[in-house]
Every structure is written in C-alpha cells, then in structure tokens.
C-alpha cells in the first residue's frame, strides 16, 4: 500500500510537471482563441464580422493611448495638488477626484460630450475662435471625457505613490536648499514612479476596455463596429465573439507586460 502511494505520487507529480492544474484556465483561454481564429479562417460569417470590426482595433488603441496619456497629465497635476499645502489647489483637486469617482464613466462621457465641450467651445467661438462645436469630432470629445474620468483615478495613484515616500526624503532635500518643486522633481517623483507603475499599468488595461463606452457615442471602435455589424447582418454570436476575442488578445498581452514591469519594479529585485 505504501508502495502504491509512492507510485501514484510519482505519477501525479510527473503529470503536474507537464500541466499545472492551477494553470488549466490558460489553456481554456488559448483554446477559445484558437477556435475563434479557426472560425475566422473557415467560416464566412466570422470572416465577414472580423473584416468589419478589425478597423475598430486601430480606433480602440488610439482612444486608449491618447486618453490614457492625457489622464496621466491630469492625474499627476491633481495628485500633486492633493498633497499640496495650498488649500485652494487641494480643494479644487479633491472636489474633482471625489465627484468624478462617484459618477459612472458613461454619464461623465455624455456630460463632457454634450455639456462641457459645447459650453467650452461655444465660449471660445464667441471669443472669436474660428470653429464651432460641430467641428469637434466625437472621438476628440470622448478622449477628453475618458481622460477626465481616469485622471481622477490616476490622481489617487500618484497621491498614494508620493505619500509612500518617507517624509525624511523631502526634509533632506529641503534642508539642502532645494525648493519644494525641485525636491518633488528630483527626489520624490523618481522614487514614487516605482510604486505607481504597476497600478498605472492596470489602469491602462482598464482604459482599453472602457473605450468600449465610446460606442454609445457612435465612435468607430471595436464595440461600436460589432454592434453595427449585428444590426447589419442580424448575427449576434459572430460580432460579439470577434469583439471579445480582440479585447482579450490585447488585454492578455498587456497584462503580461504589466506583470513584467511589476517584477522589475519590486524593491527586492
């Protein structure tokens, strides 16, 4: 009996060496991906859906990258304001962060697109600007909307990153005669980047998925095109499967990238 136990342990460890039982989900994902790829190759209805939706990838990536870059700028400024001793800056930034985070992103997008942007541009037009709100493309408004929404999250990421740096660092920098700005720029922020990069990476992936909200405003990204295709052809599985496949392929790749960053940035490496 003891012998059979040893044998079965040996067999199962050999089995385990080939296939980690905790990693089976990954195989399922790969199989899903392969099935969709095969379908696209051999099934004309999938091929049709893919051809129709594929151009949306470019728009999705464009929205993701530009919105995210803008949200980083907003987030850094708002994060700095949140740790500032200036009460005006602090209150403005806190108001922004707290209100934005309590409102669904879709509502914010509609708000920015149909209220804030028109008001802003109409104001500029009245001041003699050469274009009107009709000239501002929908995807431009969406970029600002998403950036504003994500800026509030990034502000908190930056704030937490800055606050994670030991107080003594700022004191040492200031006692050497550096101004607050110089201390932030040369001492605090370079250290905060380490803590901030992994959550920012996760937010980038979340942003990629949230660009699908732009479909509500008829911007030609993946989700919008898949819906159009559904309406065009009265198929449902094909466009949705293709859209999900495209998102998944991108997010899985990006997740691996973020994991890599996390490992490189962890302090014990």
């Amino acid at each position: 009996m003891a012998q059979s136990k040893v044998q079965s342990a040996g067999a199962s460890s050999r089995w385990r060496r080939m296939v980690d039982p905790k990693g089976l989900w990954a195989y399922a994902v790969v199989i899903f991906g392969i099935l969709i790829v095969l379908a696209i190759y051999f099934d004309p209805s999938y091929r049709d859906a893919f051809d129709y939706i594929w151009p949306g990838v470019q728009m999705t990536l464009f929205l993701t990258v530009t919105s995210f870059a803008l949200s980083l700028v907003i987030g850094l400024l708002a994060g700095l304001a949140r740790v500032s001793s200036n009460p005006i800056l602090y209150n403005i930034a806190t108001f922004y962060v707290e209100t934005i985070r309590g409102v669904p992103i879709l509502v914010q997008l509609l708000y920015v697109t149909f209220v804030i942007f028109p008001l802003f541009v109409d104001g500029l037009t009245a001041a003699g600007l050469g274009f009107t709100i009709r000239d501002v493309e929908m995807h431009t408004r969406v970029i600002f909307g998403l950036a504003l929404a994500y800026g509030a999250f990034e502000a908190e990421v930056f704030r937490a990153g800055i606050e994670s740096i030991d107080k003594g660092q700022m004191e040492a920098a200031r006692s050497l005669g550096m101004s607050y700005r110089q201390a932030m720029r040369y001492v605090i922020l370079p250290q905060a980047i380490r803590t901030v990069l992994p959550p920012l990476g996760n937010d980038f992936i979340a942003m990629l998925k949230d660009t699908s909200l732009a479909s509500a405003l008829a911007v030609g990204e993946i989700t919008h095109l898949s819906r159009q295709h559904r309406n065009r052809t009265f198929t449902t599985f094909q466009p949705l499967n293709v859209a999900a496949f495209l998102y998944l392929a991108m997010t899985l790749l990006l997740t691996r990238g973020v994991r890599y960053l996390e490992r490189r940035m962890s302090p014990n490496e």
Binding site: A172, R174, L176, G177, Q182
Partner: protein, 252 residues
C-alpha cells in the same frame, strides 16, 4: 522688524522660540546664541523638544512665535527666501535620509547641481573631495542600500558639506548605528569641529560632548533648563533635573 541686524559674532540667534504640535508644546520660550565656530551640544530626555528646536533653526518646522536670525538674516521675516538660508545650513538626520535611487556620488552632486548650479565637473570634484574627507571615496558608485549605517551617515555628512554650509545641524547622528560604527561617524564630526565648523548637535554621546562641545544645553519638557560648559556640567550640574538625567545616561 527689519530683515537684517548688524553683523555680530552670533551666527545663530534664537529668541524666545515657541512651537506647539496641536496640544503638545514641544518648545517653550527657548533662547540660544551660537557664535561662529562654536560647537553646541543639546541633550535632554526623549520628547523634550531637542529635535524640534534643531528643526526650527533651518525652518523645517515653522515656529509659532519668537525670532530667529541666521548669519544676520531674519528667518521669521516674510520676505526672507528660506531656500537661500537653507543652502547655508547643512543638516544630518538620525536615519541618514540618503536618496536611495541615486548613487553616493549622485546623492552628493544633486543639490550642488540644482541649487548651487555648479557644473557637473565641479560638483563631481567637490563630491569626491568630501567623500575623501569622510573616508569612503571608494564607495562613490555604490547605492545607499549597499552601505553600512556608518558609511551611509558619513555620506550624508559629505552631502551636506558639499554645499559649503556655514552651519551644520546634527540630530542624533549616531543613535541608529551599531556600536562599532559610532566611532567612525564621531571621528568625522570631531574633525569638523576642529576645523572650526559651527555645529549644533543633538546627541547622547557624552564622549563627543566632552571632547568637542563649547557649551552644552540641557532641555526638558520643551524648556532650556541649563546652559553650561562641559566641565561644569559633568562636575557640578546646577539643576536637579540635569543631575538626574546625567546619572541615568552616564550609568550605561
């Protein structure tokens, strides 16, 4: 009140300083004068306000009331550029506070570059001179985490000295160090004192106080209880509280 007063021998003048943290009165009405080249040691029990007083001198803590003059410049005056004054005051902390993301050399060059606007070559030369002075030029390319506590503290001293300060403040520079490293840091400080640096040092190292201090200030409960010479302090302290404190720390 005017920004400048007539130049005098007193490079640091603290006049009736008060500082509270909420309900805690950390410093109560302390006055102190330090002459150029003097070494003043501050002692006292934990929580007596030694660090707070030291940090008021370079305005890391804003005082509630009182006046501070550094080298004739009125620190508490609104128009005083605090960064300019801080350039002249080096500070060494209990926990070193080196910048972990920079090498030793970069630690010492950074403020020279961005504050003093020195060229890279000059900053590097001065950094190496000061590393030489604290005895670890071979560590220039190391990161702080690769150094022992004593080496880190010596780098911190070199970093402060590279700014050519007129005053050096030390807040318990050896109390986070293993015993075998205390001496290497104290030796550097003794050398500085001998060269005529103006120093205000919070420490419990009575050996250092005896060897280097011109005066010793005893603080308790936010107040300056006694200010005297090392000889008098160790032979005949005036106040009971000083006596009690000394007997406690000299017991070990």
């Amino acid at each position: 009140m005017s920004e400048k007063i007539a130049p005098s021998d007193d490079i640091i003048i603290l006049d009736n300083i008060y500082k509270a943290f909420g309900p805690v009165q950390a410093v109560r009405g302390v006055s102190l004068r330090v002459k150029r080249g003097e070494v003043v040691v501050i002692i006292g029990p934990s929580g007596s306000g030694k660090s707070t007083l030291l940090r008021c001198i370079n305005h890391l803590e804003a005082i509630d009331s009182g006046d501070i003059w550094i080298d004739g410049i009125h620190l508490t005056h609104r128009q005083t550029d605090i960064n300019k004054v801080r350039e002249e005051i080096g500070m060494v902390f209990q926990l070193f506070n080196l910048f972990p993301n920079y090498t030793v050399l970069e630690n010492i060059m950074l403020a020279q570059r961005v504050v003093r606007k020195r060229s890279k070559e000059e900053a590097r030369r001065i950094a190496m001179e000061n590393l030489q002075k604290v005895g670890i030029p071979e560590k220039a390319e190391s990161y702080p985490a690769q150094l022992s506590g004593g080496q880190q503290q010596r780098v911190a001293i070199a970093r402060a000295l590279a700014m050519n300060p007129k005053i050096m403040l030390f807040d318990e520079p050896t109390s986070a160090l293993d015993p075998e490293m205390i001496k290497e840091v104290l030796d550097v400080m003794l050398q500085l004192a001998k060269e005529g640096m103006t120093m205000v040092v919070v420490t419990h190292e009575m050996g250092f106080a005896r060897a280097a201090a011109d005066r010793i200030v005893f603080m308790d409960n936010g107040e300056k209880i006694e200010e005297t010479t090392p000889e008098k302090l160790f032979s005949a302290p005036e106040h009971d509280r000083t006596r009690q404190f000394l007997s406690r720390i000299l017991a070990h």
